[in-house]
């Protein structure tokens, strides 16, 4: 009797494959890519490996990632990792990990598609599923009411997305900012006048906290303004040349400099005279020609300016 040896390949035990995969993941903490699978598990058929990987992913022992080169990586999942991702399929986990990478700036569906190369419909389904499970939320950025930005549910949107103190329902509130600027200027002007009359017992400078307190007391704003908001307003006034800053060694804890009215704003200060000549700000200066229709010889601006000088 001749015994025929079975030529069929002995099917490896799935538990063995999973164990080997977990061991390999432990050896490669950065993640296992396909090249690592081929090199370390070359004796196993690839379809069995993939099947075991999916089982481990679903059981939450492995997590799947995608690199910048769109290469898949499988990484040993930390025991303290988010258990909320249990029960998500691979694609949903991938989308979730992509959104985690975008952080609090979020990403649109188009950005996710360009990153992951998944079809738009698949991404849409994943996002809907994640949103239903309260893992992801939608944020509408300021000024783009129809645009949807997706981000992780627990994150706070970045300042560039959210409205902020200086924004109203219709966008940037220029009037509110102008009122704040006027109030800050008024406060600093009063400080300067008080310092001028009280013979150096009162300082003409103010700290950030003092300005904030004044704005709060003046009730020009229905919402409380933070130190950062006041700093931004004073910064804008500094750029305009209305306010100037000085280092403040005795300033409050929240700020490191003092603010005062710019000396050029004070009365009896000279200016640099050429701006008084009407040609500098003349609206038709580019068209003015000697002998032309608009000419300095018959210019009414020069005539009025000469009369106004005396």
């Amino acid at each position: 009797i001749k015994l025929k040896m079975s030529t069929a390949t002995v099917k490896p035990d799935p538990d063995d494959i999973q164990t080997r995969l977990l061991n390999l993941a432990g050896q490669l903490p950065a993640g296992i890519n396909q090249a690592a699978l081929r090199s370390h598990l070359s004796d196993l058929p690839m379809d069995r490996i993939i099947q075991c990987i999916n089982q481990l992913t679903q059981s939450g022992k492995l997590e799947v990632l995608q690199t910048a080169n769109r290469e898949l990586l499988w990484r040993l999942r930390d025991a303290s990792a988010d258990r909320r991702l249990d029960g998500l399929d691979t694609k949903e986990v991938m989308v979730y990990e992509q959104l985690r990478a975008f952080g609090n700036k979020g990403a649109s569906a188009q950005q996710l598609q360009s990153r992951s190369a998944m079809p738009q419909r698949e991404i849409g389904k994943c996002l809907n599923s994640l949103e239903a499970k309260k893992l992801v939320k939608i944020v509408r950025p300021v000024g783009h009411a129809k645009k949807k930005i997706f981000m992780l549910f627990e994150l706070e949107p970045d300042a560039s997305l959210q409205a902020g103190t200086f924004f109203s329902g219709e966008g940037f509130d220029q009037e509110f900012v102008d009122v704040l600027c006027q109030q800050c200027t008024l406060y600093l002007r009063r400080k300067a006048e008080a310092a001028a009359t009280s013979a150096a017992t009162t300082s003409a400078s103010a700290t950030l906290e003092e300005v904030q307190q004044f704005i709060g007391q003046s009730r020009v704003s229905t919402v409380a303004l933070s130190l950062d908001d006041i700093r931004r307003v004073l910064r804008a006034l500094t750029l305009e040349g209305v306010v100037e800053t000085r280092p403040g060694p005795y300033a409050g804890a929240g700020s490191s400099c003092l603010y005062r009215l710019a000396r050029s704003q004070l009365p009896a200060s000279g200016d640099f005279g050429a701006v008084r000549v009407p040609c500098v700000s003349c609206p038709v200066a580019p068209d003015c020609r000697i002998g032309g229709e608009i000419s300095p010889i018959g210019c009414v601006y020069l005539t009025d300016w000469a009369k106004g000088q005396f």
Partner: protein
């Protein structure tokens, strides 16, 4: 160089000297590195006969060559007929000597030893800036000093005696006018002493300097061999050395040597002789005529028709010192407006110390040398600003905070350095911001300053910095871009598909202050040209009225002299008749004409003030560009 600058110098030369000098200047300004041969060619007829023609004979073909150099004043010119080459050569040599006297020419020698003449554009700029320099001198040193600088600027070089005589005469005339119009005659002031003291102060402060004289050429023998009325042969018969060989320019070893006692005495004596006994001079000015002082000649003298002690020693305005003083004036005024008068006096004292240590020819430096605290205290004590010593340390700290000076060390009160470059840069930026504020408003200044401090921002980033809404910010940004205050760089679309916005081109905005300043400088020159044109047009329009006023003024002056003569002779009838004539003459100018003259005076004063304001800005921008080019 703006066209108007050349026109101004040309008209100045034409009015004050001769049309031929103006023609030579104009020719050299358009043809740099001209030789004597080339200049002679312009005055030669195709037929070879050298002659100028009467003004009415403008149809002559060769007149076209000269026509283009005389432009507006052609109908008023009358030329002599010159028939010899020698006369033409002598005329051109005299013109070149006059231009050399004014430092308007730069000489260079070609490889074939021919001398080339080019215009010294820096000196043209100095002459164009003369009104600003006169204003500066009057502000710092008084009216007498202003008159001295005016004489020296417009005459090029003058001897001590000639200059002081002219200035003393002008001061005396002004005092006469003041005393005649005032209700009570003021006490006689010694104009000669005032002029002399002003001159000595200017020399001590290096506003003026001693120069060697440019001697006019001696008559040259006719070397053409043609005789009178002869023809010109070839160009080679004229030797360029004839000009330079006989016009010798001497260097002075000590250009700022103070006036010696002998010079002072000689000057006062000369003033007394020239003004006559009508003007009372102080006893100090009286000297025994027997004692003639010996003036030490520092240079080689050349015998000529003038007095020997004047021949080798003339004076001219020191343009470099005037520029430095103007720069200092700008810095002290800026410090006064920001920090107050006391801090400004401290800065002025520091600038005086620097000025004493700077030598002739020192280039514009970005920082001064180190000044000790003790030196500053001593300088304040010596000047009239002694009260600024109290709180000196506080003023120095304020000046350091605002970027005018820098503290080098804290030992022994501290050592300081004036930061010219930084201060000029800051003032330039403020000036540009002031122009933007005037044209586009306060919010545009915010955008400009934000981009100056943080370059290469996108529009979105800029909006969050300056707290201006998107639409307004965009409009301001584009207007600043069109006017050249802000510049833009494009980052082209990204080819990287991993970029979250792959199809977006980014535009980064920044400020290039140097480029902006150049554009503004050009604009300022244009505005100044317009103001000058308007002023000259108003004078031309009212020429008849101005001439009438001048005639009435002279008539009244003559009648006043006759009345005072009749009064002193005791002829009351004649005096009454003359007084009646004077009253009638005073009515020649009607009230509407007087009002028109008053309006014209106000307008001219305002326009002249506007030109000076623009000139100051132009000077500031030129300083900035000079420092910026040194840095590059």
């Amino acid at each position: 160089m703006a066209v108007s600058a050349v026109d101004q110098i040309t008209s100045f030369l034409r009015v004050h000297f001769s049309p031929e000098t103006a023609a030579v200047f104009l020719y050299i300004s358009k043809n740099s590195k001209s030789t004597l041969q080339m200049i002679m060619q312009q005055f030669r007829l195709p037929s070879g006969k050298v002659s100028f023609f009467p003004a009415e004979n403008l149809a002559h073909s060769s007149s076209l060559k000269i026509l283009k150099y005389f432009e507006k004043s052609i109908p008023s010119l009358a030329f002599e007929t010159m028939s010899t080459n020698n006369q033409v050569l002598q005329m051109v040599q005299q013109c070149l000597t006059l231009l050399l006297t004014h430092d308007l020419l730069v000489l260079s020698r070609r490889k074939d030893s021919a001398i080339e003449y080019s215009i010294n554009w820096a000196q043209v700029r100095v002459l164009n800036r003369a009104p600003a320099f006169l204003c500066l001198t009057r502000t710092q040193l008084g009216h007498a000093a202003e008159l001295v600088i005016e004489e020296l600027l417009y005459s090029g070089r003058l001897g001590l005696l000639a200059c002081l005589a002219t200035v003393a005469k002008r001061l005396a005339e002004e005092e006469d006018e003041t005393s005649s119009s005032a209700a009570a005659a003021p006490a006689a002031v010694d104009p000669g002493l005032r002029a002399l003291n002003a001159f000595a102060s200017l020399l001590e402060l290096r506003f003026i300097q001693r120069r060697g004289s440019v001697v006019p050429p001696l008559p040259v023998a006719d070397n053409s061999g043609c005789g009178s009325g002869g023809r010109l042969e070839d160009d080679d018969e004229f030797e360029d050395d004839d000009v330079i060989g006989s016009s010798k320019i001497y260097r002075v070893e000590k250009p700022f040597a103070p006036l010696s006692r002998a010079e002072r005495e000689a000057a006062l004596r000369h003033i007394r002789e020239s003004l006559g006994p009508a003007v009372k001079l102080s006893d100090e000015s009286l000297e025994p005529p027997a004692k003639r002082p010996r003036v030490a000649a520092e240079t080689t003298s050349v015998a000529d028709a003038r007095r020997p002690e004047e021949a080798a020693q003339e004076f001219s305005a020191n343009a470099q010192q005037l520029r430095f003083r103007w720069r200092d004036s700008i810095l002290t005024r800026a410090a006064a407006s920001v920090l107050g008068a006391q801090a400004s006096r401290v800065l002025a004292a520091m600038l005086d110390i620097v000025d004493e240590r700077v030598r002739l020819g020192h280039a514009q430096s970005a920082e001064s040398e180190v000044l000790a605290h003790a030196d500053i205290v001593a300088q304040l004590a010596a000047s009239a600003a002694g009260d600024a010593r109290s709180g000196l340390d506080q003023h120095l700290s304020s000046l350091a905070e605002d970027g005018f000076i820098e503290r080098q060390s804290g030992a022994a009160g501290g050592q300081f350095r004036i930061l010219f470059r930084r201060a000029i840069f800051s003032l330039t930026r403020q000036s540009v911001a002031a122009v933007i504020r005037q044209r586009l408003g306060d919010k545009a200044v915010r955008v400009f300053n934000a981009l100056s401090e943080e370059p290469n921002l996108t529009q979105a980033e800029l909006e969050s910095h300056v707290l201006i809404g998107g639409r307004d910010c965009k409009e301001l940004l584009y207007r600043l871009l069109v006017d050249g205050f802000v510049h833009c760089a494009e980052l082209s679309r990204a080819a990287d598909f991993m970029n979250p916005r792959p199809n977006t081109a980014y535009y980064l905005f920044h400020v290039n202050l140097e480029q902006t300043t150049r554009k503004l400088l050009l604009n300022m020159h244009t505005y100044q040209d317009r103001l000058l044109t308007r002023r000259l047009a108003e004078v031309a329009t009212n020429r008849r009225l101005l001439d009438k006023r001048q005639r009435v003024k002279e008539l009244l002056k003559n009648l006043d002299a006759q009345i005072s003569a009749a009064d002193s002779a005791g002829n009351s009838d004649a005096s009454a008749e003359l007084s009646e004539q004077r009253a009638q003459a005073a009515q020649l100018l009607t009230p509407p004409e007087r009002e028109q003259l008053e309006t014209l005076k106000r307008s001219r004063t305002a326009l002249r003030a506007g030109e000076l304001l623009l000139e100051e800005n132009i000077f500031l921008y030129e300083l900035f560009l000079e420092f910026a080019s040194q840095h590059n």
